[in-house]
Amino acid sequence: MAVQTDSFADMALQVKKDHRKMKWFQFQRLLRRKTALLSLIILILALLAALFAPVIAPYPDQGMGAVNLEHRLKAPGSHYALGTDIYGRDMVSRVVFGARISLFGGICIVICAAVIGVPLGLWAGYNEGISGAVISRTVELFLSFPSTLIAMAISILIGAGWSTAIIALIIPWWPWYTRLVQAEVLSIKQTLFVEAAQMLGYGKIYIIFRHLLPNVMTPVMVMILLDLGPAIITIGLLSFIGLGTQPPMADWGLMVWEGAPNILSEWWISVVPGCAMFIVVIAFNIFGDALKDILDTSG
Amino acid sequence: MNTGTANKDNLQGPHMGHDKDPVLQVRELTVAFNLPQGRAEILEGVSFDLYPNEILALVGETGSGKSVTAKSLLHLIPGRNCEIRGRVLFEREDLLSLPKKMLQAIRGDKISMVFQNPKSSINPIFTLGEQFHRLIRLYLPHRIAQVKLKMGCTRKQAVQIIAKEKLHEVGLTDTERMLKLYAAEVSGGMAQRYRIALALVSAPEILIADEATSALDVTVQAHILKLMKDLCTTKKTAILFITHDLGIAAQICNRVAVMYAGRIVETADTKTIFKNPLHPYTRGLLKAVPKLGKNESLAFIPGIVPDLVNPPKGCRFFCRCDHAMDRCRDQKPKSVRVENNHDVSCFLYHPDHTDKKEIPNETAPD
């Protein structure tokens, strides 16, 4: 039987096109939800602002921390759209530069946590032997303490600062991914396609990467999106108590802290970065939820 | 005409003289879901009658809409994406337009339902006894008072006596031990019998059994089927038995309605439909059923069930039908009465269809 390989290449292309179209349909359904679309726009704007902060910010040097003492504590007005802080720095520039640290930090934490947590979860879920048990017990150990507490302890131990804060947050964060993936694997492991692969004589590593990993990616993606909000908040929290970003650089959490003493008179110093944080976190949550719905219903 | 006591003769359908009016009339029931892919008409103009004292089988394969029919009768389909049209007449009232409160009063009281998986339809955190007693207190206050008076016992004892009675009716004997158990601790057969006993506490006029025996073993299924048959004769409960198994339909049901892709294609009493099936789908289905002790080669119906988001414009069986004609492509066949109480939705049997050659004349498979 002669099979023309060319026509198969064409066929493969056609099918790939169809599947891409399906993905596009899914995406369109996502965008048809007004809240999801709005939050996506907000997220894109926030990311763009963070990326092009030096271009967007009206006073890039102030955004980086240069003081401007003549214009201390100016209320929002025509010159400084959102006012200035205690050192006279323009709030718009500060928030835009703060976005860099907050967003980048959040993404960094969540991605690293997933990169560490997912493989461990796959292994622990598939192997019920000693190695699996060790991983599960470790995860339980981490999850039995409040994660912020662990993060604080670690950052005190290894010193305050933005990068150490990130490391301090990844350490209590990855077990959540391990737990999620492990639970998923335990149910996928029972399915017949895994048994079929075992019957073909395939080994652990092959089954884990070929069969289990692709099937846990959807919940992991959703969890990453939903986790970005809390991650941004927690970095802010660490900065808020002085363990995270150090002045003159500032993320949103630190800025809220800096404005706290004057909250009654110069409210904008706290409220502006607070609002920025609030909006971005909500946007991540809504978008993550919408994505989850769409992926759940489209099998 | 036929008011004799023999039950068998009493099942001939509307024209052969059902002495009673139907307890449930379903007219042009249409259910559509708004799916992301588009609007899907899961049911399209489903009409049937259920008479007192009969078991009507609603037979169909996966995706034929038989379970949706059962659920939409009592408005049990959740979600805003669902549209229900048509009429379901019960005691001169349209269940579909009834306010929620009144519908709830009918559900479980006058119309009960038994589902496929008995264990998951029993609340797992109460013992079987607690649930059963609660239901008795709710539905049978008069009976409790009666027993109290007669036996001179407390209310609690009266409830227990009634519970025992009701469980005996469904063939459960070791009731005292059983009522102390939780749903997870009893076998599937026991759970289903218990479930049926629950459904019968209120002495419903209609019992809807949605694949009630499909998850059970044949030997256990035999129990349940016998029980259903007895119920129908002794308690005069009308049963709507939804199943995919033609064997069950043949053995315990009086009439059979065959569903395909959201429509009822043929309705007749059991003997007729097995002896003289008319719709090409019914014929195909009957030939595909493996029969015990008959080693003939099995037939199948080529093709697959149509996508209900983009259903065929005309007859929904068009693509798989051997006898399809041009008009089947874009006209929907209406139900025609061929003989007494034998309705079929197929153009082959329409009065204006003259080319009688097309009518398959083979004898029925037996």
Partner: protein, 333 residues
């Protein structure tokens, strides 16, 4: 006489029930107890029984997926009961399985080609560059079209998915395939399609089947010989025709009479068995069927009946099968 392809000798498959703190099993669930059975090359052996009787476990034990507690399994004379998973590899491709739920047995994230390729890799007769060609040929064998090859499983109907599973099982060039309730999840109108396909393939490739099902009525259409299983034991094996006409074990008869026949004229009795299916963790003494058997006597409680040959490759395990046979009690008039 054809040689047996697979021989089972006193096979026991036990799963640990409750465990002590140290992880040692305190009790065992005896899913398969003391089963000896020959599967003859080229035959289709049916295995019928109620849910929880251990029939699926027996199928998995033969393929060495379920843990073998004791006993021996021989494949073409080679003992495979104690081989490690590495040593089993050459046998894996010779023995395949098709499961009940076709949707769950295909990885939703893989295309049909990937799924078939995974199995083809094990087939030493197929060279690397010919995978695509072979995969297409397999699809043709199971009556699917070649343009289906890059599609995903969810784009197919249940019947089609089951045919893909059969294609995967065929890809390794097996001698023996276990069908575990392979047609139970399918609609009647497509079931026959899959069964006819199975039969054709059996003839073309000279395959041996073990067909596991709870549905007695399908057996005769598929199998040449049928084994009836009850509570972990095989109680009777007979030629499929004879099994229905002249059952020798009381359980076979009850099972047969419980099936509702799709013919209102032939109203069967819907015979009701008393009692419940026994728990495999604590099966009854003696003959496992005695608490539910209408013909049980004292000896049935005490002694487990031995196999008694009733013909070529057929036997029954019942103390009273001779009396029942002589009286014709189990035969319908």
């Amino acid at each position: 006489m054809k040689p047996p392809l697979i021989e089972l000798e006193k096979v026991n498959t036990w799963f640990p029930g409750s465990k002590t703190i140290l992880g040692k099993p305190r009790s065992w669930i005896k899913a398969v107890s003391d089963v000896s059975l020959n599967i003859i090359a080229g035959e289709c052996l049916g295995l019928v029984g109620e849910s929880g009787c251990g029939k699926s476990t027996l199928g998995r034990t033969v393929l060495r997926i379920a843990p073998l507690h004791s006993g021996e399994i021989r494949f073409l004379g080679d003992p495979i009961g104690t081989l490690s998973s590495k040593e089993l590899k050459p046998y894996r491709s010779k023995m395949q399985m098709v499961f009940q739920d076709p949707k769950a047995s295909l990885n939703p994230k893989m295309t049909i080609f990937d799924i078939l390729k995974e199995a083809l890799v094990l087939n030493t007769r197929v060279e690397k560059h010919a995978y695509l060609e072979q995969a297409v040929e397999l699809l043709h064998l199971v009556d699917l079209r070649s343009e289906h090859i890059y599609r995903y499983p969810h784009e197919f109907s249940g019947g089609q998915q089951q045919r893909i599973c059969i294609a995967r099982a065929l890809a390794t060039d097996p001698r023996f395939i276990v069908f575990d309730e392979a047609t139970s999840a399918l609609d009647v109108s497509v079931q026959a399609q899959v069964i006819n396909l199975m039969k054709n393939l059996q003839n073309t490739f000279n395959l041996t089947y073990l067909f596991i099902s709870h549905d007695l009525s399908i057996m005769e259409h598929v199998c040449s010989r049928v084994a009836v299983m009850y509570a972990g034991q095989i109680v009777e094996i007979q030629d499929s025709r004879a099994l229905f006409d002249t059952p020798r074990h009381p359980y076979t008869k009850s099972l047969k009479n419980a099936v509702p026949v799709a013919d209102p004229e032939e109203s069967n009795t819907l015979e009701v068995l008393k009692g419940e299916v026994p728990k495999l963790s604590d099966p009854p003494s003696g003959c496992h069927f005695h608490p539910r058997c209408n013909y049980a006597q004292d000896i049935c409680k005490e002694k487990s009946p031995l196999k008694s040959e009733t013909g070529d490759h057929s036997w029954v395990r019942c103390h009273f099968h001779e009396t029942l046979w002589a009286q014709g009690t189990l035969i319908d008039n």
